[in-house]
Amino acid sequence: MPTDAVARSSRSRVDWWLPLTIGVLLLVLSPVVWLLMMSFKTEVDALAMPPKLIFVPTLENYSGLLEARFLRPLLNSVVVATVTTVLSLALGVPAAYALSRGRAWATGGIAFWILATRMAPPIAFAIPFFLAYRTIGWLDTLSGLIVIYLTFNLSLVIWLMRAFFDGIPVSLEEAAWIDGASLGQTIRAVVLPLTAPGIAASAILCFLAAWNDFFFALVLTRSSAMTAPVAIVNFMHYAGWDWGRITAGSIIVALPVIAFAVPVRRYLVSGLTAGALKG
């Protein structure tokens, strides 16, 4: 039965790829799983030697975050990320539409500038913004963070949305125009509904970029405008090495990111390579 043997051997080969892939995935994710486990351990269990793989989970690290005034930085993170997202969309979506529909006179230069700002080391912006904020009293303010996050989020929106607008045939708009619709009506009734998924993806990527920032918040805030990532690191430096709170805080900051990133997975590359690769 030679054909049978071939079929069996190829099937058994396929059977090996799945366990291999899952095995590699578990290995890759094991450091994250360890973080998750630590966040549910008592201090005694966390420092047990050899480490405990089976333990009675506790929520004391999470409740400890309340005493450690973690809510304020967490709220700061939410406010800053939300406002910068709204601003970036309000400014960037019309601009992206204009770039897509207007003549290409500016597109090339803007593409390079968007890429260059995305590539520039954040410290190149941190120093001038630090000096400017020091002069106008914007250090340690939420406004200060919101504005500096525009350096990357505005470019991101313009670039992603331009690709979405490019995907809508101009003929649809011309049909609406001939039917007597104004440009504003055309945009509202034809263009925006078709690009709603793009706007949603851009919004999520903007939110995540601001939410994930550590460097600007470290340099430009001290206490009242401190965001969650900086607060977590402060558990490390000033409050001794409070691993319970560090791990619990980390999980709280990481959860929304994972939840949001799944639906936008296919836009991750365009988001991270804004300006260079086709969206």
Binding site: L29, P121, A124, I148, F214, R265, K278
Partner: protein, 294 residues
């Protein structure tokens, strides 16, 4: 029709103007200001230090051993991480390009390190390399192996940063290479199979050459981004022991914000900016990757 065109042009300008104004204000303005401060000895503790001093900072850079050390650290960090991310990313992309059950879920799972907040990645690896907390103890304690102090041993510290960075950003090269694999035409591979090429020959002579633009793009992106590695170093080693894990970006940070030498730090960053701009121009010049020029 012409009035429509003129109307459209005006609307386009009105839609574009606010965003362009803000974009220039928050990017071009600050970068110009950075260029200005790089020609001054600006020191936040000395009020009179905002004055023109020509190329003094740049000349000082050439004599600064710590700067050259940071360039060397950067070079080793970039070379090791980019190479590893390309090799592992290629392997992972080939693996995830196979027909597998649950392929979408598996692909999403592999992307987790890249989307996590970078500071959380740094904490994850800080824990991993802290002998008191690491899960490695599950193996080493029963076997009686004593772990080295990974993060404070000069010979090991940079390796821990490299490992963490490779873990964090291999998903990025994987995604780019996976996209390229999915766009790949079937005909050359089928022709090779008909001619009896082994899987290894198919990979070496067909897949790899077709992937070259994607490999170049992914490598350049990672190279430029490797200049900005900050949270990992800040949390895991703080640039130490000594200056063993202090790349230029981190040295510039300490000069500006741990010390107060804004002018000197600015000069260092201007040099970094010029390197990144040159590399960015290379990316735009890659064949087949640039957007159509309309």
């Amino acid at each position: 029709m012409t009035s429509h065109a003129a109307y459209r042009r005006r609307v386009v300008a009105i839609l574009l103007a606010p965003a362009l104004f803000v974009l220039i204000a928050v990017t071009a303005g600050p970068l110009l200001y950075l260029l200005v401060t790089s020609f001054t000895p600006l020191d936040l503790t000395r009020p009179d230090s905002f004055r023109f001093s020509g190329f003094d900072n740049y000349r000082e850079l050439l004599r600064d051993d710590r700067f050259w050390n940071s360039v060397g650290v950067q070079f080793r960090l970039s070379a090791a991480t980019v190479l590893a991310q390309l090799v592992l990313g290629l392997g992972l992309a080939l693996l995830l390009n196979r027909p597998l059950p649950f392929r979408e879920a598996l692909r999403t799972g592999f992307m987790v390190p890249m989307v996590l907040p970078p500071i959380i990645v740094a904490i994850i690896w800080k824990i991993w390399f802290t002998p008191l907390l690491t899960p490695l103890n599950v193996l080493t304690v029963p076997l009686g192996i004593v772990q080295p102090s990974w993060l404070t041993e000069p010979a090991l510290a940079l390796g821990t940063i490299v490992l963490a960075d490779v873990w964090e950003w291999t998903p990025f090269t994987t995604l780019i290479l996976l996209a390229a694999l999915q766009m790949m035409p079937d005909e050359p591979l089928e022709a090779a199979r008909v001619d009896g090429a082994s899987p290894w020959q198919q990979f070496l002579w067909i897949i790899l050459p077709l992937l070259r633009p994607a490999l170049m793009a992914a490598g350049l992106f990672r190279l430029i981004d490797s200049f900005k590695a900050f949270p990992l170093i800040f949390v895991m080693t703080g640039g130490g022991p000594g200056v063993a894990t202090e790349p230029t970006n981190y040295y510039a940070y300490t000069q500006a914000f741990n010390q107060t030498f804004i002018g000197y730090s600015s000069a260092m960053i201007v040099v970094m900016l010029m390197v990144t701009m040159a590399l960015s121009a290379l990316i735009l010049g890659l064949p087949g990757l640039q957007r159509d020029a309309d």
